[in-house]
Subunit: 322 residues, 2 copies
Amino acid sequence: MPMRKLKEETELFYSYLRQNGLKKTYQKDLILETFLNTEGHLCVEDIYALVKKRDKKVGVVTVFRTLKSLTACGIAREITLGDGLTRFEHSYHHPHHHHIVCTECHRAIEFVCPELERIQNDIIQKYHFHPIHHRFQTYGICEDCRDHRAVTDFQKHDTERIFARDAVKMALCMENRCLEFYRNLADRNQDSAGKEIIERMVQEVEAHTVDLNLKLEEIVAQEKDLDCAPIFLHFDPCELEELIPELSRYESGDAIRLDAKASIELALHLNRAAADFFKSYADRFAETQGKQVFISFANQEGNHCDLMRQRMEQLLASPSAV
Amino acid sequence: MPMRKLKEETELFYSYLRQNGLKKTYQKDLILETFLNTEGHLCVEDIYALVKKRDKKVGVVTVFRTLKSLTACGIAREITLGDGLTRFEHSYHHPHHHHIVCTECHRAIEFVCPELERIQNDIIQKYHFHPIHHRFQTYGICEDCRDHRAVTDFQKHDTERIFARDAVKMALCMENRCLEFYRNLADRNQDSAGKEIIERMVQEVEAHTVDLNLKLEEIVAQEKDLDCAPIFLHFDPCELEELIPELSRYESGDAIRLDAKASIELALHLNRAAADFFKSYADRFAETQGKQVFISFANQEGNHCDLMRQRMEQLLASPSAV
DNA sequence: GTGAGTGCAAATGCTTTGCAATGGA
DNA sequence: TCCATTGCAAAGCATTTGCACTCAC
């Protein structure tokens, strides 16, 4: 947990206290700090035990009461994993997610699924409910328990980092699809000017892929074993697939012949689609590092569109110079 | 609750008792009967109160214990609506569903959403969990509570009947889309033989629609106000839309010219798609009246395919006679 | 100094368990 | 007869409340 965030959340808590005429105390601080410094799905008893390590005099009741406040101001979120205990997880700057719960070891994996959010919105509207929150919980037996292996705790990582990691992976997934598309197209395009344009696209996407991989490494380096944490963002690859134009539409007979203009138009179209998609994808999430990844990816795709447009202008001005 | 079902469930319970070396008793019978004769999401106290009306001597503990057994043998299903109480709902021959819970009045609407089931399967597979069950719960404030209106209980109907009702409605929705498609096509088709074929299709679909409406009335007549119960099956109309061929594919210029053969082929294709879709749709559900509706709809569409094929043979044999 | 916070103990509410009596198979 | 079942009372358990004392503002 970076200090910056701990500070942000503490600020939030204090302003909540101020606004509600409540007082800040040593115990509240201690409980907040303990909560923020622990990842996972902790029950009151867990947090109480941790707090007691630092100060034996604190009572459980205070932990209960403070966690209620933390929930009220959006720092914590109450969850249930089916064992009758109320558990708490970080909420501030953490995307809304769901759980896969092992009914044997009671460990839980978190995942985000925008499709679920969409369905939830559709349904609640259909029934004229004013939405508050929703939860999707899948219960099953995890691999470790099924194979009677030793189990350790899941989810020891900062959710926001894992989300950022997966956001970059999603962007990379998009870029890889684009690469495959452009390479395939360059291979088959029988118009040499168009081929050249597309090959330049390949290089640009490759460069972008390198950047994204660096970004990924940077994120993963922030925390030990972050790369091993299970997938958090459950995105639908079909949605990315749909952004890629169908090559068959450009075939005439079995051959593909896209001149420079048509190639730029195609690339422009693909970039525009990707930019729009990632921009609206970002809208689904609360303020997080991951959201920022989507926004900056959308912006880069947008910038690439501008570049395409410039090239198009150049081409129209002096067709031989591109 | 029809007698037939009460009997089936009682049989199931007795065989569960037999297989586990347990004994049948007057109290268990009483609790089972009370449970089966009440629709809704009842907590132990609710059922206990109802049982007490019939016999003051029965204890709560027995209700707790019997409900555990009923859950174990698949007659009841335990649910939580967020108020800390364990509630029970019918499970035998009831499709797996989810809930929209009002956080004010604690009433819950049930709904079935095959899309959710699909996502659940995808995700649990991705994380290598062995599935047990899943729950999707949406919390919000219902219309009544938002407008500070008086509230009565939801869900006073037999879930299986509501499911059957919605299954028929879904089939009707499909037929209406087909009708619209055929009418539009008949209108625009400039080939008179083809037009005639399509007009016959319109008549056949109309007849089928009448049948389905009769079926719907029959289901709705089984229970008072069944037609007013909220939508239970949340199907995706896009999935139906996708089954309908795009007319634009048959346009040449702005005109449509489909001869008899092409018209039969088109109708055959549409019927086949509908039959396949509803057959696989039925597979998603446990044995219920609604599932039977889907299967019989798929069969009827299949039969229609056979009819189409016969016509095609006739046409090929004597082109003028169709 | 005022009023919220704290921590103890006690209460609450749902659910389970222990146990002696009961009653099915 | 045997052993599951029943219903009472009692225990468990997570959480909340009452209250006197403490401490932040």
